[in-house]
């Protein structure tokens, strides 16, 4: 997936979000760290082009809400969570780069609910790796691209905000890691 296609997918996600919610009233986009954050900002920019108003964008860091802390990291890096104001009775669109097991989204929802009671929570992802990998009953409302993959593969999303290149590729998981 090259930069132009990422851009088109995000434009489509933006218009789907606006259409589904009949505008952007009470809408907050929330990116999940790390790569969900620039995606949320890009979608917000595209919504601004469509509607003339840019919806507020928040950031969730789910490190402290993970269910696999013991297997995550000897030097976990906890970055902050920043939400733009009260989420009570608002419509939240969670945004992430890849939907795989669904555990990241579970953690994000748990954290979100600690901040208040949104009226509705939706999920937008750039890449959906397919239902068969899901370990929780979680599906995306907006999908940039459905890419069925094997467990032994990794979807690598590169965005210029963090990476040299921009694009999406499938890579083989290193053998040692796959065996573990």
């Amino acid at each position: 997936m090259d930069p132009a296609r990422i851009n088109r997918a995000l434009a489509r996600l933006a218009s789907e979000i606006v259409e589904e919610n009949h505008g952007i009233k009470d809408l907050i986009l929330v990116g999940i760290r790390r790569r969900g954050v620039p995606l949320a900002n890009r979608i917000a920019d595209k919504i601004a082009e469509l509607e003339g108003v840019r919806p507020p964008v928040g950031i969730l860091d789910i490190t402290l809400y993970r269910d696999d802390l013991s297997t995550v990291g000897a030097k976990p890096i906890v970055s902050g969570t920043e939400l733009p104001g009260d989420i009570e009775a608002r419509t939240i669109v969670l945004i992430d780069d890849v939907l795989y097991t669904g555990r990241t989204v579970r953690a994000a929802m748990d954290q979100l609910i600690d901040f208040g009671r949104p009226r509705r929570v939706q999920l937008a992802v750039l890449i959906d790796r397919g239902n068969e990998h899901r370990e929780l009953p979680i599906q995306a409302d907006y999908i940039g691209k459905l890419v069925p993959t094997k467990k032994s593969e990794i979807i690598k999303v590169m965005l210029t905000d963090f990476d040299e290149d921009e694009g999406v590729v499938i890579v083989e998981r290193p053998a040692a890691e796959a065996a573990a």
């Binding site: 997936m1 696999d68 976990p76 748990d110 600690d114 901040f115 990998h133 890419v147 083989e172």
Partner: protein, 344 residues
């Protein structure tokens, strides 16, 4: 990927500058949790933290307890007056008994220097030193550093004056190690009996000694005042508290000599009118309550990093990025899936 690589937090002296900065960065993000309506995250759910206090403490013990609870850990407090130590049990036996209850972390304060090291050898749990005799009090130094960084924006290159009973102060020792490691210049001042002449070089290279407060605070960006530990003044180190207040108590006019934006810190509990005047303690220059707030954040970071993760990788398995080669879509699978893959 570097690892935090620390099982216990026994002293600042053993930490690398990178580890200190990582602890401070983590603490900074934990500070926000205490500002939320629901001041709790599930990070340490199901873990047990024992606060084992052989010395009186309200602030530090409460701070550790709140930190553990805000991370969803179960916190148990044991203080010496209620423990079996009063019945004659040794530290090692106490440790073995606690270990048998499988805690994930033991926070210990003890009047003997080295007690936490002793405990670390006897227990599998992560040990956090919450003050051992006149040796170290690492979380105090970390919360002081967090407070300095918050207000001065950096630590490297700052001038820090530490005033008071350096001899008996674990707070001073831990702070001197930390500040020197992160590039600050430290000057200590106090009565000759409490700041022996050979002290500076002994503790850390580059620590300067000043005889008078007026000398130590010149151009200082940070003035750290130590508590006069009246409970340790048994050997007539000081002629009288009044004399100490006159010569080593910090007054507003001292700050005229310091940098214009100098901040004042005190580890508490304060002896008002002795080491610190009320006009300073209650002024905008004093960050004593900020220190307390930062104490919870620092202790959350310490508990999280010690009792939390054990392997490697910043992101989860479903988000991590490997070093394999890009695929070309030759894997045989359903037509629909295959076409999706190929036009990726």
């Amino acid at each position: 990927m570097t690892t935090f690589g620390l099982k216990h937090l026994l002293g600042i002296r053993e930490l690398s500058p990178d580890q200190i900065v990582h602890l401070l960065d983590t603490a900074e993000t934990f500070r926000d949790i205490s500002k939320r309506e629901i001041k709790k995250v599930p990070a340490l759910r199901g873990r047990t933290v024992i606060n084992l206090f052989f010395e009186a403490s309200t602030r530090t013990r409460t701070s550790f307890e709140i930190a553990a609870k805000r991370l969803s850990a179960d916190a148990i407090n044991i203080s010496v007056s209620t423990s079996s130590v009063a019945k004659g049990e040794t530290l090692l036996d106490t440790a073995r008994n606690l270990q048998a209850m499988a805690p994930d972390c033991i926070v210990i304060r003890h009047s003997s220097a080295g007690a936490p090291y002793h405990l670390a050898r006897a227990c599998d749990a992560a040990i956090v030193n919450a003050g051992d005799g006149a040796h170290e009090h690492p979380t105090q130094a970390l919360l002081d550093a967090l407070t300095i960084r918050e207000h001065q924006g950096r630590i490297d290159g700052l001038k820090v004056a530490i005033i008071g009973d350096v001899l008996h102060s674990r707070v001073a020792r831990s702070n001197i190690y930390l500040l020197a490691k992160l590039g600050a210049t430290v000057t200590v001042a106090g009565p000759g009996t409490l700041v022996p002449a050979e002290f500076g070089g002994l503790i850390e290279q580059g620590v300067r000694l000043a005889r008078r407060v007026e000398e130590a605070v010149v151009d200082a960006d940070v003035v750290m005042i130590l508590r006069v530990q009246r409970e340790r003044q048994t050997d007539a180190f000081l002629p009288s508290m009044r004399e100490y207040a006159v010569h080593y108590g910090l007054h507003l006019n001292h700050l005229d000599l310091a940098a214009p934006d100098a901040i004042v810190m005190h580890p508490g509990p304060m002896n008002r009118g002795i080491e610190i005047s009320s006009e300073i303690a209650d002024s905008g220059r004093s960050l004593i309550l900020d220190q307390v707030t930062n104490g919870v954040a620092v202790r959350m970071a310490v508990l999280y990093l010690l009792a939390g993760g054990v392997s490697s990788g910043e992101q989860s398995a479903d988000r991590e990025v490997g070093n394999g080669t890009a695929r070309n879509g030759t894997v045989k699978r359903q037509r629909r899936k295959r076409s999706l893959r190929e036009d990726l």
